[in-house]
């Protein structure tokens, strides 16, 4: 277990007495692809907020590559190698596709280097490569705001990859996508795992099944169970708190 890339140890987050997360333990091995599911209010997004430094846990510790992340500002955590994709696509709408990606691949991310240095040839190649992965070559000079919803989702994933993080946290990547786009996104994430560690939060069961990855079920800020999709689906506790309610909602 000591080789884990990311480890959450007994994380508790309390918002004015409401426990968004309680005693949450979770660890990710390098190269792993992991899905996290859970009903609304299970604490999925809070859990990402804790890892990326947006929310400070009331108790517990987050360890990434053997170092505690507590007390570090968001941008430093990002530079350590944790990238995050938000629930609704958040790209810089007034900048072009190319500029969005250039900001992601730029390194170091300091004012003077951005002012006095140009993108290296390698970084420019990387931008083009990223655009070709998500098929936005034709849109290089388009304002990101004029892209379709699906293209924005992909652009954000491409920006995430451009940051070259060791750990990708992906929050609901297929919300609002067509079935075809959903399948393509699943393939894209699967191809990223291995080189990167990927943690996906999603509501869409079919999508999770396509990822063929271990699943962690969150419920009321706690890990309810872990296992493959098939194991999880027959777990009576999961059926009670999650799948049961989903069927009702869908019905």
């Amino acid at each position: 277990m000591s080789s884990a890339l990311l480890e959450l140890r007994q994380i508790t987050v309390s918002f004015d007495g409401f426990l968004a997360l309680r005693d949450l333990n979770l660890s990710l091995q390098p190269g792993e692809l992991r899905a996290v599911i859970g009903p609304n209010g299970a604490g999925k997004t809070t859990f990402l907020d804790v890892i990326t430094g947006k929310t400070a846990p009331t108790d517990g510790d987050v360890v990434f590559k053997g170092r505690s992340l507590l007390g570090r500002p968001e941008h430093r955590i990002a530079r350590l190698g944790i990238g995050r994709k938000f629930q609704s696509p958040r790209v810089f709408e007034k900048l072009s596709v190319q500029e969005n990606l250039a900001l992601a691949v730029s390194r170091p991310k300091q004012p003077w280097s951005l002012l006095f240095q140009r993108l290296t040839a390698g970084q420019r190649d990387q931008v083009h490569h990223l655009m070709s992965i998500v098929n936005l070559q034709n849109r290089a000079d388009w304002a990101a705001g004029s892209l379709s919803h699906g293209q924005k989702q992909w652009l954000e994933i491409a920006m995430l990859v451009g940051q070259d993080p060791d750990l990708l946290l992906v929050d609901e990547p297929v919300a609002g996508l067509t079935d075809e786009e959903t399948d393509l996104t699943a393939d894209l994430l699967k191809s990223l795992a291995g080189d990167h560690t990927v943690l996906v939060i999603e509501h869409d069961m079919e999508f999770i099944r396509r990822l063929e990855s271990p699943v962690t079920v969150l419920h009321q800020g706690h890990v309810l169970c872990e296992g493959t999709m098939d194991q999880v689906q027959v777990d009576p506790r999961v059926i009670e708190v999650y799948l049961g309610t989903t069927e009702e909602e869908n019905g």
Partner: protein, 425 residues
């Protein structure tokens, strides 16, 4: 493509030649009074450029740029006062005598050096802006709260400067016209002409500097801060650092503007730090066009000229006009005048114009046809040339119609791209 590029280059060269010629010739063309006004307004354009950088590009609305403007002005005025103090009793500026001060306050001493003053004009306001800004940004104070804080700081400085008779002559401020620089009176026509030229050159240099700053990836980061600052943090950037830097830079520019304004207006006084002054600065940028550097310059110069002309013709009415202008910009031209031109504004108008021509053309064609129909029913009408008139109307109608259609298509440059086949991954 290449040809249009060449054409553009030619246009640019012509434009620059015009600008340079205008600057060189302005003293010969404009009366002394107007030239002095133009010089002052160009100094204000420097402040506006700074505001455009922090507000138009980075989204920081500062209502306290007057602080930095005044600091630059005071630095210049202190040097000028000292450079002439040798002939005076006690060897210190005259006004000190009014308050019984015999010795020069300690912070005046370095301003005896012209080099120190040249640096202080931009460094003091720049560093102060950086420090104040850094403290605020570090605590993630944003938006309206930031604006209120800057205005509160402005009031603090205003009251402080107003009350310090023994240090800086309080409300009266420091006068410059009777002081000497290069053996010439600062208020003389010759010096004023040179100040105008210097100001014009400085405006161009600063425009070029800011253009370089906002065009590259640094500028992209500023825009990203404006549009979605939290997202940028997760991309590994530290927005606080960038915001502190540009706020400091804007403060330094306000200081330069203040110094040049002071030598041309004749005094540095706490009036620079009155609340309406700082709000006016924001309005120049808003009207000219946030996020367009040229807009900030034009906004500052044109609005101030309008103000002085209107105030001469119809005193008291300017405030209403300025208010109306601001309402117009907020409601109809949120991107400002230049922003409207660069954006889809003209395209939309041309499109509408095309539509009108289109409709008019159709009407003409219909009338022409009606006339011809009449003339076949009543052949005697032909003797009056109705048939020809009808044909002519139809011809005109078709011409207008096609101009209208061309115009409308021409306003959609992206149509071609929309049609491109999209390759799915």
């Amino acid at each position: 493509m290449f040809q249009s590029l060449q054409q553009r280059r030619w246009l640019l060269v012509c434009l620059w030649v015009l600008i340079v010629a205008a600057i060189v010739a302005a003293p010969a063309i404009l009366p002394v009074f107007r030239l002095n006004l133009l010089g002052r307004f160009l100094s204000l354009a420097i402040v506006a450029l700074g505001i455009d950088l922090i507000w138009g590009f980075t989204g920081l609305l500062s209502l306290g740029q007057g602080i930095f403007f005044a600091l630059g002005g005071y630095a210049a005025a202190m040097y000028l006062q000292l450079s002439n103090a040798g002939d005076l009793p006690n060897g210190i500026p005259e006004f000190f005598g009014l308050y019984g001060v015999k010795e020069l306050p300690f912070f005046w001493h370095p301003f005896a050096s012209p080099w120190f003053t040249l640096v202080a004009i931009w460094l003091i306001p720049g560093v102060l802006a950086g420090v104040l800004g850094g403290l605020v940004f570090r605590n993630r104070i944003k938006g309206v709260y930031f604006s209120i804080l800057t205005q509160a700081a402005l009031l603090v400085f205003y009251n402080f400067f107003n009350g310090q008779q023994k240090l800086i002559n309080g409300t009266n401020g420091l006068q410059t016209p009777a002081t000497k620089l290069f053996d010439q009176y600062v208020g003389s026509d010759l010096m004023q002409r040179w100040f105008f030229w210097v100001t014009a050159v400085v405006v161009i240099l600063i425009w070029a500097l800011l253009r370089w700053v906002v065009r590259g990836r640094f500028g992209d980061v500023l825009i990203a801060i404006r549009d979605d600052e939290p997202r940028l943090r997760f991309a590994g950037y530290n927005p606080t650092l960038f915001k502190t830097l540009v706020f400091g830079l804007a403060g330094a520019l306000a200081g330069i503007g203040g110094a040049l304004y002071t030598v041309q207006s004749g005094s540095a006084s706490p009036q620079f730090m009155e609340v309406p002054m700082s709000i006016d600065m924001v309005i120049w940028v808003a009207v000219g066009g946030r996020g367009t550097l040229v807009g900030a310059i034009l906004g500052a110069v044109v609005i101030n000229f309008a103000k002085s002309l209107v105030s001469e013709a119809l005193p008291e009415s300017w405030l209403f006009i300025q208010g109306g202008l601001f309402i117009l910009v907020v409601t109809a031209l949120p991107e400002g005048v230049i922003g409207w031109f660069r954006g889809e504004g003209p395209g939309n108008w041309l499109n509408r114009l095309g539509y009108c021509l289109n409709t008019l053309g159709n009407w003409l064609i219909r009338w022409g046809n009606a006339l011809i129909r009449q003339s076949t029913a009543f052949p005697w009408l032909n003797y009056l040339g109705i048939n020809t008139l009808g044909n002519w109307l139809i011809g005109c109608g078709h011409a207008l119609n096609s101009v209208g259609i061309v115009r409308r298509i021409g306003t959609y440059p992206r149509l071609e791209l929309e049609g491109q086949v999209e390759v799915q991954p």
